[in-house]
Symmetry: C2
Subunit: 215 residues, 2 copies
């Protein structure tokens, strides 16, 4: 008997160009479920008033978090690794395939996003001389060398590592940084997957519903 997974996100987020709509990280979980054909529902916590109950489930007051038969998991990266164990469409289940998926998932979080997100954040208020610029470009250069040689990061197939890496790299300002044709083609290819579109459309519809409710 399979009980649906529950993906928790905000009830609403502001519109902007770009995002946060279309970029809130519940998208990563929706996308993984869509890829694997896992049954899921989406529930909301208030964006504007984040109470003790929210912090009890997500200690940094963020989203998403995942509920799976009484187990709650926060951190989108952790949720992806949790989901990956449910389907070989997200990660092959042999030791080598698991290790490769794991290392590239962590690389997306801690070698790439650890630089791109602070770089992007600083760029919001400072468009010249971003102190993280050369560090970020160097990390992307190393990633470019990898993606020039292979279609998928891990285990010769699409995995949650690709889902996550592409989601990290599709941020418009990150995409526009430097000249990395292999990265660009990789992000286009991964985000062209039908499961990405379903996840993206699902998130946009969810927040549009939030607009109506808050009127």
């Amino acid at each position: 008997m399979t009980e649906a997974l529950t993906i928790w996100t905000f009830d609403w987020v502001p519109e902007g160009t770009p995002g946060p709509r279309g970029y809130v990280r519940d998208l990563r979980l929706r996308w993984a479920c869509e890829e694997a054909g896992l049954d899921y529902k989406v529930r909301s916590v208030p964006f504007k008033n984040r109470g003790a109950e929210h912090f009890a489930r997500q200690p940094f007051g963020q989203v998403p978090f995942l509920e799976d038969r009484g187990i709650t998991v926060f951190e989108s990266g952790a949720c992806l690794l949790h989901l990956a164990r449910k389907s070989e469409k997200l990660m092959p289940h042999d030791p080598e395939g698991e290790a490769e998926t794991l290392e590239w998932t962590i690389a997306a979080l801690n070698s790439i996003e650890m630089v791109t997100v602070p770089w992007w954040f600083i760029g919001l208020s400072n468009n010249t001389n971003n102190p993280l610029e050369s560090w970020m470009l160097q990390r992307l250069k190393h990633l470019e060398a990898v993606l020039a040689q292979r279609e998928w990061l891990a285990a010769g197939q699409f995995t949650v590592a690709d889902l996550l890496m592409a989601d990290v790299l599709r941020i418009p300002k990150v995409r526009a940084a430097g000249d990395f044709p292999a990265i660009r083609s990789y992000v286009d290819r991964v985000c062209a997957r039908p499961a990405f579109k379903r996840a993206y459309d699902g998130q946009m519809a969810h927040f549009a519903k939030g607009d109506k409710l808050s009127r």
Copy 2:
């Protein structure tokens, strides 16, 4: 039949105050092995000339990486999660315990270190008006609230999540930021474990040997 794990690190790194000696991330892997009583040996790649062979095993030219019976894993966070599956001393193996250890391991990498490392890096050349300061202090404030309530992050026991979080937070400048008594006492407590000292001493001796060889 158990074959020793191999932890790969640099043959040498410069001395400094503080670090990199005592902070190179092979320490995380040594520490985990020491906690769990896992047999390991340490091997080196050149710090000064990082060649194609190194990049083939660590695409960003960093260390550590781990070799486990023919499987190579890079990213210290991935190595810790890989090792955690070998011993309940590093992670309880029931689904709830695994989920908690996983989420807090990723939180250390992607909610805390994603801010502390770029903040620290910017601070090397800019001691005033660090653009990441308030973001970092807010993240630490949320973590302080958690650590004021419990001894360990996950599953009511020491896990790789504590090892990693303490290693992220023990950086002297991070420790000195803000006023977070629960974090401070947590880091002291975790780093007082004998396995930390053995790992630390092992790393210092390894790089001291590198000094002699390069003379």
